[in-house]
């Protein structure tokens, strides 16, 4: 599936990503966490093809996708809905750009997640959480082999965030799309992902990789289990080490 091989990127003398390698398997949910400013957004720009890598390769199903935009499904931190388009028109935008809008599919998805009644509403009428649902649907409907989610819930309030995590999980467990999920929330990563990749501080490379042992379907209860707490502490420790180093710099 997605295969990142030994990529590096620097902006001028600033090394942002260095010798970073990891893979995402078909139907796998991979979360990436790292200290803030560790080049997580740059990583997505590289995968998304809007910034070239200095060296290394990015393969998707064996094809080199460097410098190619519109290959991955993308969900940004802010909903990024176009205010003058209805919800339905917003959901269809990615396919529209590739001149094959699929209205039926978009409608079916809106129906499935209970947003059908908002089909003809404009984004400003929706709450932040709702807008992010629409943003996620837009990524799904685009029909790309892999979805890249860039801290999608970080701008939401705590309660909405928990709600959204459960919502995303329920949809994902039903459809098993490959997801690469960048977050700075340890709990979020543990609750959602199959595997967690911890990045080092800048220049980013893989520090640790953790396989999340919880069975699916997952429920809210796992958040209170001892294992969850232990893993959380372990991950926290990793991030703390990176932070401490950062202060020494």
């Amino acid at each position: 599936m997605l295969n990142i091989q030994d990529i590096s990127k620097s902006f001028g003398s600033l090394e942002v990503v260095k010798n970073l390698s990891f893979t995402v398997q078909e139907g796998e949910f991979v979360a990436i966490i790292g200290p803030s400013g560790s080049g997580k957004s740059t990583l997505f720009q590289l995968i998304g093809g809007i910034t070239p890598v200095d060296h290394g390769t990015i393969l998707l199903n064996g094809d080199n996708i460097q410098r190619q935009t519109g290959i991955i499904g993308y969900m940004p931190q802010q909903p990024c809905l176009l205010p003058w388009r209805t919800i339905l028109e917003n959901v269809m935008i990615v396919e529209e750009l590739q001149r094959r809008p699929n209205k039926e599919l978009a409608k079916a998805w809106l129906e499935k997640v209970g947003l059908a009644s908002f089909e003809n509403a404009y984004p400003h009428a929706l709450s932040g959480g709702m807008q992010q649902r629409v943003s996620f649907l837009r990524a799904i409907v685009s029909g790309k082999p892999i979805l890249c989610l860039d801290e999608p819930f970080s701008a939401l309030d705590e309660f909405t965030r928990l709600e959204m995590q459960a919502w995303l999980l329920s949809i994902w467990e039903e459809h098993k799309k490959s997801i690469l999920f960048v977050t700075h929330s340890i709990e979020e990563a543990l609750f959602l992902a199959d595997r967690i990749i911890v990045l080092t501080k800048r220049p980013a490379t893989v520090k640790e990789e953790i396989i999340v042992p919880f069975a699916r379907p997952r429920f809210e209860e796992i958040r209170h289990s001892t294992q969850f707490t232990q893993l959380k502490q372990q991950l926290f420790q990793y991030l703390k080490e990176e932070k401490d180093d950062a202060y020494v710099d």
Binding site: T69, I72, P76, Q77, W84, I93, E96, S142
Partner: protein
């Protein structure tokens, strides 16, 4: 658009005006009372209305051409940064040349026909539209532009599906300013020589010391500008969708 309070205030001002004229016994040819202006307006309606129609036509045609030129230039300049670097400063400097000064030149070059008049109106409408549209394009949120890049939009798609609609509120602010300018531009153009129009009516009234008629013309110009302004606001409400509070802000009244 004009709220109740401002209408009452305007009525109050007119009342004061009327009162001063009556109390101080100011001669009619110096400053006529609002009531006298209104009576004159009603009485000369049939002779005045052809002039108004001529001005409306001139202003609308000029505005339409000005909007089209302005938007085309704005799109062109926005999309090619090299040309923008050359042209934009010239554009700004050119606005310091008063149109009134250019008018005699235009008449020398193009005669007394429709063309020099339309050029004058175009010139006054053009600038606010170019500036407003270019500002609108430039203010497109960087998050949305980044999103468009990530989903593989071409430059053309990013412009027509993102920057262009994003700039609608700004463009309409520009058109609203241009619309009020266009009536003024039309009247100035008519002063220079025309057979019909509010400008012509004003020149005739002035040379015969019919101050009341000059005021009729002034009120007609104000009403025309307001009318044009509200028509454009109405169109704006139809075109600018889904921006709720955002759209309301671009109104100046």
């Amino acid at each position: 658009m004009l709220q109740g309070r401002s209408i009452i205030f305007i009525a109050f001002l007119l009342f004061i005006w009327e009162l001063i004229i009556r109390v101080a016994d100011i001669p009619h040819w110096l400053l006529p009372a609002p009531s006298a202006i209104m009576i004159e307006g009603i009485e000369s309606y049939s002779t005045f209305s052809p002039h108004v129609w001529a001005t409306i036509q001139l202003a609308l045609i000029g505005l339409a051409i000005g909007v089209m030129c302005g938007l085309s230039v704005a799109v062109f300049l926005h999309r090619s940064s090299t040309i923008r670097a050359f042209v934009y400063p010239i554009l700004i400097v050119s606005q310091n040349v008063p149109v009134l000064v250019l008018a005699p030149l235009l008449i020398i070059w193009f005669g007394f026909g429709l063309l020099p008049k339309l050029i004058i109106i175009c010139l006054v409408c053009f600038f606010p539209i170019v500036i407003a549209a270019m500002d609108g394009f430039r203010q497109t949120s960087p998050e949305l532009k980044h999103y468009f890049a990530m989903i593989g939009a071409t430059k053309g798609q990013t412009f027509w599906k993102l920057e262009w609609p994003y700039a609608y509120p700004s463009i309409f602010s520009g058109i609203k300013i241009a619309a009020t300018y266009s009536v003024m531009g039309a009247v100035i153009a008519e002063w220079l020589g025309a057979k019909k129009g509010i400008g012509v009516y004003m020149t005739l009234a002035q040379s015969s010391f019919r101050t009341d008629r000059v005021f009729v013309a002034i009120f007609a110009i104000v009403l025309l500008s307001l009318l044009l302004f509200s028509v454009i606001r109405f169109v704006e409400k139809l075109v600018v969708k889904g921006r709720g509070a955002h759209a309301e802000h671009s109104g100046h009244f």
